[in-house]
């Protein structure tokens, strides 16, 4: 056996909270081989990100980290001086941060932020620019020469995430740490990105640490998998073993919770004479770029319309137009009869992080929503109904894990009775077990209250679970609509077909076969 690239023994991290230590990671041991790939899975708050940051030795003030040893590429990370630490970060590791929207500096173009990393590697300006364009291309960003000049807020969520990946790869690291790198991506791009990472890993010879709550995804990439629960590594072994013969109860839970792609879909809702929502010939431009191109669709009462499409296809934009948050050409008509629903459309935003006011507690947010939407519940009840424990109520968004934030965002939309809820990837940040629960919840809520959803997602399994009908969006155009079974089972449009294929292949193999590049 060769010397491992990463060798961790007895890693323990405590956060200092009001003068008391709270353990986040408890004596964790693992290795990563020089070109190896380790996957870490675990529920929200189990310490995954903390481990990732420990490897970069970048923990917030107040964190105390200790380990018997923590070696990366022959470097004893915990003993580095300031300068050495800087060099270590610059040359040995790449880091893909969990929340791309916040990992990018809002005041600078995305291109300059990636080029900066190349400059750090010693490239000259022109070379760095060229390398940036190439890297954008590599991670599947459209039209790089134009995109590099955009600011983060002008990109779609998936595009932002890809920029962050490109930025991490630019460092040409020995160890690439990916902390939930694909949460915002559709299944096809997700697969592509993972394949890309896998390919680059082999080509350039770096090791990866992939963190995700998406077990199939991790399994498709990693050789070994570690399962974390409450800061402890409860299972650690070959990927295949973990997925096929999970030992620990929690691992089993994770495996079982993966939504099957061929589960029975919900029957189509018999169409009313008058749809709840009708969108006619909506066109939206950002500058000269078309984000929506002549989109028309209907949603019936009590119907869930799944909206799928690759990243940047205009899903969020359509949602915003329907909600009245963005102006566009065309007509959006909502026929509500329920006079009580003062606020007819609710929105669960793609990035819950930004959609919660950082200075208001969960309780304040929920209470206000209940008030505004004339709900008949109270914050406690609302929190419980979305699987939030009541003690989060007095926390501020920054004190919540990603999953919790998303649940707050969902809870908020259901604070009252709005006939239409637009869910923009509401489960993308959730770990599978929670995701399943939330989906159950959303279905239950929908059935109980009879609202309609426009359900935006890139996860076809999720669509199958929740949607009655599905619409496929590509480059701002609806390329296919129909029942879930029709579109997913027998896609007519080649683009739909490729989406379905990608999803299947990613899930089909539970070992680390990488579907898209399998031929290679």
């Amino acid at each position: 056996m060769t010397e491992p690239l990463v060798s961790v023994r007895g890693l323990t991290v405590d956060y200092e909270v009001d003068g008391q230590l709270q353990r986040a990671v408890d004596r964790v041991d693992f290795d990563v081989a020089p070109h190896g790939a380790l996957g870490l899975v675990g529920e929200s708050g189990s310490g995954k990100s903390t481990i990732a940051f420990s490897l970069a030795r970048f923990l917030p003030a107040g964190a105390v980290i200790s380990a018997d040893h923590l070696i990366v590429d022959g470097v004893d990370v915990l003993s580095l001086g300031t300068r050495a630490l800087r060099d270590y970060r610059r040359t040995r590791i790449g880091f893909v941060y969990q929340e791309p929207a916040r990992a990018l500096n809002p005041t600078r173009t995305v291109g300059s932020q990636v080029a900066e990393t190349y400059r750090l590697q010693g490239l000259r300006a022109a070379a760095a620019r060229r390398a940036t364009l190439a890297a954008f291309d590599d991670v599947g960003l459209p039209d790089p020469p134009q995109l590099v000049h955009r600011f983060p807020h002008e990109l779609s969520g998936g595009q932002q995430q890809r920029v962050v990946i490109a930025m991490a790869l630019a460092a040409d690291p020995r160890l690439l740490i990916l902390d939930e790198p694909t949460t915002g991506l559709d299944s096809r791009v997700e697969a592509e990105v993972i394949a890309l990472v896998g390919r680059l890993r082999r080509e350039r010879g770096f090791a990866t640490l992939l963190i995700s709550h998406n077990l199939p995804l991790v399994a498709s990439h990693a050789e070994r998998i570690g399962v974390l629960e409450h800061g402890e590594l409860v299972e650690y072994g070959e990927a295949q073993d973990v997925v096929e013969k999970p030992q620990h109860a929690y691992s089993r839970l994770l495996v079982d919770a993966v939504p099957p792609l061929d589960a029975p879909s919900r029957p189509v809702v018999p169409s009313h004479a008058e749809p709840l929502l009708s969108v006619r010939r909506v066109t939206k431009r950002y500058g000269s770029a078309l984000a929506l191109d002549d989109v028309s669709l209907d949603i019936g009462r009590g119907e869930v319309l799944g909206l799928v499409g690759e990243s940047g296809s205009g899903k969020t934009t359509l949602g915003r137009v329907i909600a009245g948050l963005a102006r566009a050409e065309g007509a959006v008509t909502l026929n509500t009869t329920d006079a009580a629903s003062k606020v007819p459309v609710q929105f669960v935003f793609q990035s819950p992080d930004a959609s919660l006011n950082p200075r208001r507690t969960v309780r304040q947010t929920l209470a206000r929503s209940i008030q505004l939407l004339h709900g008949e519940t109270d914050p406690e009840e609302l929190a419980l109904s979305t699987g939030l424990s009541p003690d989060v109520l007095d926390k501020l968004p920054d004190e919540l894990s990603g999953g919790q934030k998303q649940r707050v965002a969902i809870a908020r939309a259901f604070a009252g009775r709005s006939p239409l809820v637009i869910c923009d990837e509401p489960t993308s940040a959730l770990d599978v077990s929670v995701q399943a629960k939330v989906l159950d919840l959303l279905v239950e809520l929908q059935e109980r209250t009879g609202v309609s959803y426009l359900f935006i997602t890139h996860d076809l399994a999720v669509v199958r679970r929740i949607a009655h009908r599905v619409a496929v969006l590509r480059h701002g155009r609806i390329v296919e609509t129909g029942s879930v079974d029709d579109v997913l089972g027998d896609p007519r449009h080649p683009y739909s077909a490729s989406l379905v294929d990608a999803a299947r292949s990613l899930r089909g193999g539970t070992t680390r076969s990488v579907p898209i590049t399998a031929a290679a």
Partner: protein, 294 residues
């Protein structure tokens, strides 16, 4: 091996309160009170508040001639005496009254006015913004002095007048800063999130946006206190208004500045009084920020 991460000073670690805690407010208060810079500052501010309210009860006479002109600090006159023989200690304590009237209230008025207008301008943008901003521009362009002269000329130099003058004078600047901060906040998702729930503009402005621009507002508020205390002194520097024999700190600074070389105590103690108040308020604000971060 144990490494404390990214921590310049062990002391801070102890004082820093991390997010994601279950800690109660009470606990944070305890941390706050344990910090010397907070406690001392609080004591100083309280001291001045008591002085402002209760100096008469102490039997001090800030107006009488003690018979000794410009005598240096001594046991009889702790802070010495001034050019017409008044006890500087008595004057400094009594001066807390006008200072605490004009400073905090003037600053509060300016901050309330400025941040409200700034919030509205930044939130509404478009023509409302243009209208407000050009309105502020008028105030920023109009010489301060004319403004003060008109106000003081028309209404005299009473504390109330000065408070109003400070309020009107400082508001446009604060408004601009708040507006700039709001313009940035408007780019964040929580604004449409609230709007889509049918949140009213007023609540959006004051409940959603205001807490997020609060740090800037707070800085402006604490800083305008000193400015407010000085309005009267600057006015009297330019020979425009004065209210002798008021022991007002600002006025004292101007009245005695010509004795800087000859009788430093007449100038130093009122200045120290102002500084102690302003510094304390700022330190209190700092500590709050650090302990109740987020």
């Amino acid at each position: 091996m144990t490494v404390t991460a990214a921590l310049p000073d062990a002391e801070i670690a102890e004082l820093l309160v991390s997010p994601r805690t279950r800690s109660s407010r009470l606990r944070r208060w305890r941390v706050l009170v344990a910090r010397p810079s907070f406690t001392i500052s609080a004591v100083i501010v309280l001291f001045w508040v008591f002085a402002a309210v209760g100096w008469r009860l102490l039997g001090l006479d800030p107006f009488a001639d003690t018979g000794q002109r410009l005598s240096a600090p001594s046991a009889a006159h702790w802070f010495g005496t001034d050019r017409i023989g008044r006890d500087v200690f008595a004057r400094v304590l009594a001066g807390a009254e006008p200072a605490l009237l004009v400073g905090p209230f003037g600053a509060a008025l300016a901050t309330a006015l400025g941040s409200t207008l700034g919030l509205i301008a930044g939130y509404r943008r478009g023509w409302v913004d243009q209208l407000f901003m050009r309105g502020f521009d008028i105030f920023l362009t109009l010489p301060t002095l004319i403004f003060l002269l008109v106000i003081v000329g028309a209404f005299g130099g009473s504390p109330l007048t000065i408070i109003i003058a400070v309020g009107i004078l400082f508001a446009p600047g604060i408004a601009r800063i708040v507006r700039a901060a709001v313009l940035v906040e408007m780019g964040k998702q929580y604004v449409p999130s609230a709007r889509i729930q049918g949140e009213s503009a007023a609540r959006l402005i004051f409940r959603e946006l205001l807490p997020n621009v609060w740090p800037q507002v707070l800085v402006q508020a604490t800083l305008s206190i000193a400015g407010a205390i000085f309005i009267s002194s600057s006015l009297s520097f330019l020979g425009l208004a004065s209210a002798p024999p008021s022991p007002d700190w600002g006025l004292a600074v101007n009245e005695n500045r010509t004795y800087l070389q000859a009788a430093w105590w007449t100038l130093a103690f009122p200045t120290l009084a102002i500084a102690s108040l302003v510094v304390s308020l700022n330190l209190i604000a700092d500590n709050f920020r650090e302990v109740f971060r987020r």
